[in-house]
């Protein structure tokens, strides 16, 4: 794992590998120590390589706002932002996030009050049971960051990557339209 600051094997973890040691073929590992940022804070943990990012966030970091529905990429509940882009955290291993920046739903309203997108969801009945909501919120935030005035097609295309069993979607679509108007950036 030489020359790769975000990825170290647990055994090597604190010791720095001397620069330019002879190149040997990397050895596959069952666990790795990874470093990355989650909601702006640097995290360094040793994690079994088969652990998904979703499970890592929930079980190792206690960030249970990220929900797991289908666990194979269909439902969208586990969507988080990886370097600003929405991804399924159930289809990414935690070790693959080494060196990256992750944002979860917990980052939206760290203090009192709601993020404008969350407020719009509340205002426009964009949720009922709330299980799918964290994923919808993260995709909506990414969309609205990139497109302050998204087209209807962009909104539907983005929300199409998420399943909701309660709302019938109309409230969610309306919430995203409203958030585009109310989010002052």
């Amino acid at each position: 794992m030489n020359g790769d600051p975000a990825h170290t094997t647990p055994a090597q973890a604190p010791a720095r590998v001397p620069a330019r040691r002879k190149r040997r073929l990397r050895e596959p590992q069952s666990a790795l120590t990874i470093r990355f940022t989650v909601n702006g804070e640097t995290v360094e943990r040793t994690v079994e390589v088969r652990k998904t990012l979703a499970d890592f966030l929930r079980e190792d970091l206690g960030l249970t706002g990220t929900h797991l529905g289908c666990e194979h990429g269909v439902c969208g509940a586990c969507t988080v932002l990886l370097n600003g882009e929405p991804v399924r955290s159930c289809l990414l291993f935690a070790v693959q996030a080494a060196g990256a920046g992750i944002e979860t739903v917990e980052s939206l309203a760290p203090g009192e009050g709601l993020h404008p997108v969350q407020a719009a969801f509340r205002e426009h009945h964009g949720l009922q049971c709330g299980f799918c909501t964290p994923g919808f919120l993260m995709s909506a935030v990414a969309l609205l960051r990139d497109h302050a005035e998204p087209t209807e097609e962009q909104i539907l295309e983005t929300l199409g990557g998420h399943l909701c069993r309660c709302t019938g979607y109309q409230g969610i679509v309306e919430a995203v339209r409203a958030a585009a108007r109310t989010w002052q950036r």
């Binding site: 990397r26 596959p28 088969r50 194979h72 990429g73 990557g161």
Partner: protein
């Protein structure tokens, strides 16, 4: 933990990937975007011993024009293809089809090469590659070879890739003037795998079809070209009648299997309807008039 235990390694170059594959051979598996592989791992339908994660190989993600082809690194994200003005202009068939692949949240990770190497029989990109006669560049420890789609796709979820090889590049031909393309599909929901999809390419000479190609997804073990229908179109006038006849012929020639989502007969009928639509659209886009 959902996947069965495996060991993980993230090489930084194609050479290192090849060395790792040579060492771990059939028990190793390449992880690209992971949007098909990780579900298989999570459901324990696949249990590779070693995962070789190539996502750190930046040199495998690029889109660049070379002569009359657009060269695309196998690790190019589907989202990057969708956002590429170059692809939209120069390989519009790929641009049109990629928006049917999953959802934006899938395409941010999913890669072009990964979709092709996975070779799902209902995937969109294999049909695009088949319709365009794109080249698939494969590297092995002994060198590099370029395969045609017919050589590359070897059946249900199967390609000509050896366990020690890696797909590195796809070379899409930039189509000549007066050529139109279209991709249409029917799926249960937008973003699902296609029940049937068709990619059409039509080259026009005045009011005549100089050449036509049709590649289907969802109706066979891999992408399916229907050369009889293509042959019937070549040299014919670009009229609704001709397109309808070719569509009927294509529908009759296909031999899809039925499954829980759609019967074989339904797929054949949908294929015929989609063929007509795709041909008419491609013809219009080639600049041809419709009556």
């Amino acid at each position: 933990m959902k996947p069965a235990p495996f060991r993980y390694v993230a090489p930084r170059s194609v050479d290192e990937t090849l060395a790792l594959l040579a060492e771990h051979g059939a028990e190793g598996k390449i992880l690209a975007g992971g949007q098909s592989l990780v579900p298989l791992l999570n459901m324990r339908l696949a249990r590779p011993q070693v995962i070789v994660d190539i996502n750190g190989i930046r040199s495998l993600a690029y889109i660049r024009r070379k002569d009359d082809r657009l060269h695309m690194g196998a690790l190019t994200r589907q989202r990057a293809v969708e956002e590429s003005a170059t692809v939209r202009r120069q390989v519009p068939l790929l641009w049109e089809a990629i928006r049917f692949v999953g959802h934006p949240q899938i395409r941010t990770r999913g890669t072009v090469g990964g979709s092709l190497a996975h070779a799902d029989p209902s995937a969109e990109l294999p049909a695009v590659v088949a319709a365009l006669d794109a080249e698939l560049v494969v590297r092995s420890p002994s060198g590099e070879r370029a395969l045609s789609p017919g050589e590359f796709f070897a059946g249900y979820l199967t390609t000509a890739l050896e366990p020690t090889e890696v797909l590195t590049e796809i070379r899409f031909p930039v189509l000549p003037e007066r050529t139109g393309t279209a991709f249409v599909e029917v799926a249960r929901r937008h973003g699902d795998f296609a029940l049937v999809g068709v990619a059409a390419v039509v080259r026009r000479r005045d009011g005549t079809i100089a050449e036509a190609r049709l590649a289907f997804t969802g109706v066979g073990p891999g992408p399916v070209r229907v050369r009889e229908a293509e042959g019937r179109l070549a040299g014919s006038a670009g009229t609704p009648r001709v397109f309808a006849d070719a569509a009927r012929e294509a529908g009759a020639r296909l031999d899809p299997e039925g499954d829980i989502h759609a019967t074989a007969q339904y797929r054949r009928e949908v294929a015929a309807v989609l063929t007509r639509r795709a041909l008419e659209l491609a013809w219009q886009r080639s600049g041809g008039r419709t009556r």
